[in-house]
Symmetry: D2
Subunit: 343 residues, 4 copies
């Protein structure tokens, strides 16, 4: 019997997670909730997802738009075993009482503070911490990217890790956010991303700083790591990243010079091997962008803020409901379903 | 027996046309030619398209990248009935002698001058002009957008049409082109787009001007048309656009405020109803962006420069080889195969 | 005896108008009012402008920042004959009662509705309409640009004028406004700019449409005018613009391809001939961007949204207080003081 | 008797250096050389700088533009004691033979390799190294910014310094350079900036990495320094930067959130206290952007790529010709003349 999953919020994260859930053989998408009629709500209907009205939404607006709704959020919760909360930042916490009242488990996103849930989660790093929990929090896109990389670096022992996060200022469809021309430092130093990683990897000696730049495509992390037991060569590092699920490493001959070509690659890939979306759910590295000098490792990684947490939400459900014996099995199933499994 | 199609050039247009050809039941994609190994070349191999080395390309580079090649461009031409030339601007003309020597027919793109081919082509506007031709030129993205709209407006009689083309400065993956911040007027006034439309619709009283702006997503046309026999209302205009293939009209409640949301819609749609790509091959209009004052019609349309000519290339092949009795049959077949057919 | 001028609001417009007023021999800047301490408030102090606290501003905040204040806005109004309202859009109207209570005259900006003042004003177009008025409204940047051009075109008779306004999305320092990548149509068609021009030139047969694009530098107007009594050549049109105050026309050899180079020119000019600012208070045209075909005139003009209304505010004061016998005398005095007078 | 200075190249750097030289009482600007007529060449004439034709430039083009020229580059060199080479990258090296043949000393820019000159130079860091030299190389904008900061940090002992350079992709007037939307990593890791700083400070334990982002305004450096003898507080660090020439530190209340407001500040400042330009020749820091945790210091600094090397070029001349007894005297004179001296 499948675990019945509701998705509350159908924006950037919610719509992707709903699509991913719908592709799993051990999960059933019982519906999605949305506040307003929009082209995204219409698409939920076209995909056959039962549509519910969330929060203060007005069902009449949906009716006027010709979009049939199946009820309100509480109705949806009544049909689910678990809800994925994909509401805007800080609204997840407000929703918590609602979920508890409905007796459903909940997966929150990284925009909420860590104490919203019993544990923070990232599949490669701490899958087992999610087992049997009634609530989990999938960490944010940047934290997910760091936690994944930490899983690779652990074999060499991280003595000290500095990351500069060069953050995209807005998602592609957020047309009211700027800056159009300029760089805005994040004056929280070190930034909150380091402590957030430590909700998953408590002892990681990491310090993060951040700036915001006028692009919509991806974040880029500039990493400098001192390793305790360094590998023999950068090639060994590249091979380790290549061998790990949810990493994509471009070779020099591929002509991928930066995030514009990474997203072009993603658009080309859509539809191949079952990859329906134009997303990049993997951490993206470049062979040319990995350099080892003694025990000092430098590498760039690009993070697709819109989609990187999508497979993590699926794995979080598997961990909660103990649907997989271990992380490797869960990750492999998720990645195959999303078309991002390694060959 | 299927018409055997080669695609020479596998960049922005070529890769999309190849995918489209591969989806047609009356066409066979016999191979694609590319100058350099790249992530796009790798994808051709992964999709199972026979890969040939174009122009001055070095086969060893492909071998070094692990990409098997089936020969050089002349070998490909030897296996084809027709070639779609998707080479960079002005290279198409240079390739013409090669195509003629190989005895294959050819479809050129709008970057070439009109006299590269026997006729210029746009399916809605002049499908029949393509019948039996040995060479055709599919007009450029902006010209295609205008020619399509002209097919709708014709019923009311166009007395005078002014278009300001607000052009995207670069495609998403062209990361070396600017400007980053600024507007650049096109000092050719009226611009070449008007005369280019008249290669298809010789009598259209149109004048176009253009500026280039720092975006990668879509062009936007600002149209002002004086009509001879105006319709009763803007709603009638909207209905006419909605009823025409290759037009997509957003309703106010959909929340599509500009090109960022149009492309978001396209990414969401990828994978639905067989629409594998995140492209928008339709002219995009907004109900709110159509206004009629007496005989004066104002409307905006957005044009996805990367993909709008893709279905036109397919129809050009059908016209050339007389694979369809008329434009309606050809367009319907093409649009169904690409997932953009009206319901 | 000089007219005593207060400036209420010290943002993009207010700070420039204050600087301009300070340079006039017949006006005295008695102070500026600002809501919050900031680098701009500090600069007012450094320039020696008496600083007053506007609206709900807290004097303690200024004290904490080490910025001496001379009182609150009502104190400033008590020392002035006239106030230039440079408050944010719609706040000007709220301020009106305050100004009337203080018995001062007022000049409002174009963000306010036309009925905020006795008349709308643009120096070249209707200087005399401002004579002796107790309140005036200087029209917005785009309307000012159109009204000025209309003053040149009038000699040939305007039969019909279509303008597409390609608008900058944010000012350079407005780092929270987008879009970063995309074009947003203005769904008011024709846009409000046409009716706004007619508050000054009631019979002008103009229709305007607008799109917003991701740049911070300047607006660009794409103009198409049908003339009743067309001149002999485009050169005659260029000469007429060149001979008119507040027009700047670039020659082809100057290498000014778009708004980035126009603003570069402005930065270079700062400090020359008394032009202290890096602004472009003139309408900017290009010789290459003027084309005449029979009675059809096409031309581009670029409008520096931050500064173009600055000299108009000065002239509005001269008209109100009858400090100049006619517009030519006022404009010449203003332009000399600002370093933008023709040789 | 003044040292006679020629400036070869009148683009972004050359025009600013020429203006700065013209403001010095111990230097005489004997002329500038430029390849092409342009708005910038016209401005040289308007400022009264003798204009010479550089390189392969055609004097007839200048004549056609109405710009009087005084000869060719060799003529200019014949009238000078020293030339500032502000030619495009790598052209400086080609010019070297010309300068040597003319018997003039030369100052090169940081785009040239270090061995173009006898020594590399940055005033705060190694003024005395320039004394009496016949050729000097002023290091590039980013290297200058780092070298200046190093001069402040030296008092606490730098054990290790990591810098991520978030680089602007193009200057404001370079309208053909991208990317428009995306981040491009610099795959040279560590980047050349570290070794370049060591041409001045040979023992500095610094490692730099870089990304390019779509903005034109300023670079931002994200710094992480481990100090040997850390100060007591971040406030002590801020005070040290504030007390050093060519540093500008914004307080929290000033409302400067990022580079857009820094450049707004610069435009406002133009004309004040003799600061004719809208440039920021100082390293820019933020109080909020300095954080000390034990011996770990984090700070952001913004670097105005167009102008930061301008005062350095002036000081290089003073060092070469021993016009000042020490760096403090030279720097103070330069900064006063440019309006950037501390109060």
């Amino acid at each position: 019997m499948k675990v019945r999953v509701a998705v509350n919020g159908f924006g950037t994260i919610g719509k992707r997670v709903a699509d991913a859930v719908a592709r799993q053989s051990d999960l059933e998408l019982v519906g999605v909730a949305k506040t307003r009629a929009s082209f995204e709500a219409r698409r939920a209907v076209e995909r056959g997802y039962p549509l519910y009205v969330a929060g203060s939404g007005d069902p009449q607006r949906f009716a006027d738009a010709g979009l049939p709704v199946a009820g309100r959020l509480p109705d949806l919760l009544g049909r689910a075993d678990v809800v994925i909360d994909a509401a805007p930042e800080d609204v997840g916490r407000e929703n918590r009482a609602l979920y508890q009242a409905a007796g459903v488990r909940a997966v929150y996103q990284g925009g909420e503070a860590a104490d919203v849930a019993e544990a923070s989660f990232s599949a490669l790093a701490n899958f087992d911490a999610g087992r049997g929990k009634r609530s989990l929090r999938v960490v944010s896109c940047n934290t997910t990217g760091i936690a994944r990389a930490a899983s690779v670096l652990a074999r060499w022992g991280v003595e000290r890790w500095d990351v500069t996060l060069v953050r995209r200022a807005a998602d592609p469809a957020e047309s009211k956010r700027g800056p159009i021309n300029g760089i805005v430092p994040t004056f929280e130093m070190p930034s909150h991303h380091g402590p957030d990683v430590r909700t998953i990897l408590p002892d990681l000696p990491i310090a993060t700083t951040a700036v915001v730049v006028p692009t919509t495509l991806m974040h880029v992390h500039v990493n400098h790591v001192r390793l305790r037991r360094p590998p023999a060569s950068a090639a060994e590092v590249v091979a380790a990243f290549r061998a790990t699920p949810r990493f994509l490493v471009f070779a020099p001959w591929e002509g991928v010079d930066g995030t514009p070509q990474v997203m072009e690659f993603a658009r080309d890939r859509a539809g191949e091997r079952g990859t329906a979306s134009a997303d990049v759910m993997e951490n993206v590295l470049w062979e040319r962008g990995v350099r080892l000098t003694g025990s000092e490792l430098y590498f760039f990684q690009a993070i697709h803020q819109e989609s990187i947490v999508v497979p993590e939400n699926v794995d979080a459900l598997r961990a909660m409901f103990e649907l997989a014996p271990n992380k490797d099995v869960s990750i492999a199933a998720t990645d195959r379903s999303l078309g991002i499994a390694h060959a």
